[in-house]
């Protein structure tokens, strides 16, 4: 019978032994933000229905959106949206057959957070200045 030799390297995937990497984090972030956006569409629909229901309902919706908790949710939602969008651009690059080598993958992962975070803040600054 053949002797079973122990593997010289860790077997993958190995859930107890792993090191966080940018690519892994951004992959998970894309799924988490996608799920967040999915659930958040309830709020968008509710806000639109409130607007369609008349001034009283709309004022209530605006008051909730303008509260501390409301703004926190809005901020997280806008960040999720922008991050998911920039992460999606990465998928387009892969779909076109580019960016599979380790260095490019790493750069694109870092790029997606380096762009989406400042972009979200910029959007909020513009929104708060304009109001």
């Amino acid at each position: 019978m053949a002797e079973v030799k122990p593997a010289a390297r860790p077997l993958s995937p190995h859930l107890q032994i792993y090191r966080w990497s940018w690519t892994m984090a951004m992959s998970i972030a894309h799924r988490v933000t996608g799920t967040g956006l999915y659930l958040g569409t309830i709020l968008i629909a509710a806000w639109l229905v409130a607007a369609a229901s008349g001034p009283a309902a709309f004022e209530t919706a605006q008051a909730i959106a303008g509260s501390f908790l409301g703004r926190l949710v809005l901020f997280l939602y806008s960040f999720s949206l922008i991050h998911h969008m920039v992460g999606g651009l990465r998928h387009f690059v892969w779909d076109l057959g580019h960016g599979y080598d380790p260095q490019t993958r790493m750069n694109m992962a870092k790029f997606s957070i380096a762009v989406s975070a400042p972009l979200t803040v910029l959007i909020w600054i513009v929104a708060l200045v304009l109001r």
């Binding site: 799924r31 996608g34 639109l48 949206l81 304009l130």
Partner: protein, 130 residues
């Protein structure tokens, strides 16, 4: 000529639909809606920014502008198709038992349609005069 050494019948190979029975349709529609979402999301964010702190009358005026309303409807449509496809992939990744999976995938479709219908109704009602 390709020899048919695999277990697949020539008909199956010609149809090219694979085990999911819908070929690359799911994947492709997710990409098409993703591209549309990039443009429509940026417009949607712009509309929301324009609405911040506005009183009811001017908010309604903006949302009932035909161009704004049409773009909002397109955003709702594209986002709902896209999120339904995306969530189906997540469900199929984590739920393996056949019956719960079918229920979850069906519930996912109901959710996307319900959210989409409510949003479309609201935009149309605003557009056609509240």
């Amino acid at each position: 000529m390709l020899s048919n050494s695999s277990m697949r019948t020539p008909l199956a190979r010609v149809r090219g639909l694979g085990s999911a029975k819908s070929g690359t349709g799911h994947f492709w529609l997710q990409r098409v809606t993703a591209v549309a979402n990039v443009i429509l999301t940026l417009i949607f964010v712009g509309v929301v920014i324009a609405l911040v702190g506005r009183p009811y009358a001017s908010a309604v005026a903006l949302l009932s502008n035909p161009c704004v309303a049409i773009l909002m409807l397109l955003f709702i449509l594209s986002a709902c198709i896209h999120m339904r496809l995306g969530m189906q992939v997540i469900i199929e990744d984590y739920i393996h038992a056949e019956f719960p999976k079918i229920l979850a995938v069906m519930g996912n479709t109901f959710f996307a349609i319900a959210v989409g219908a409510a949003s479309v109704y609201a935009v149309l009602k605003l557009s056609f005069g509240g």
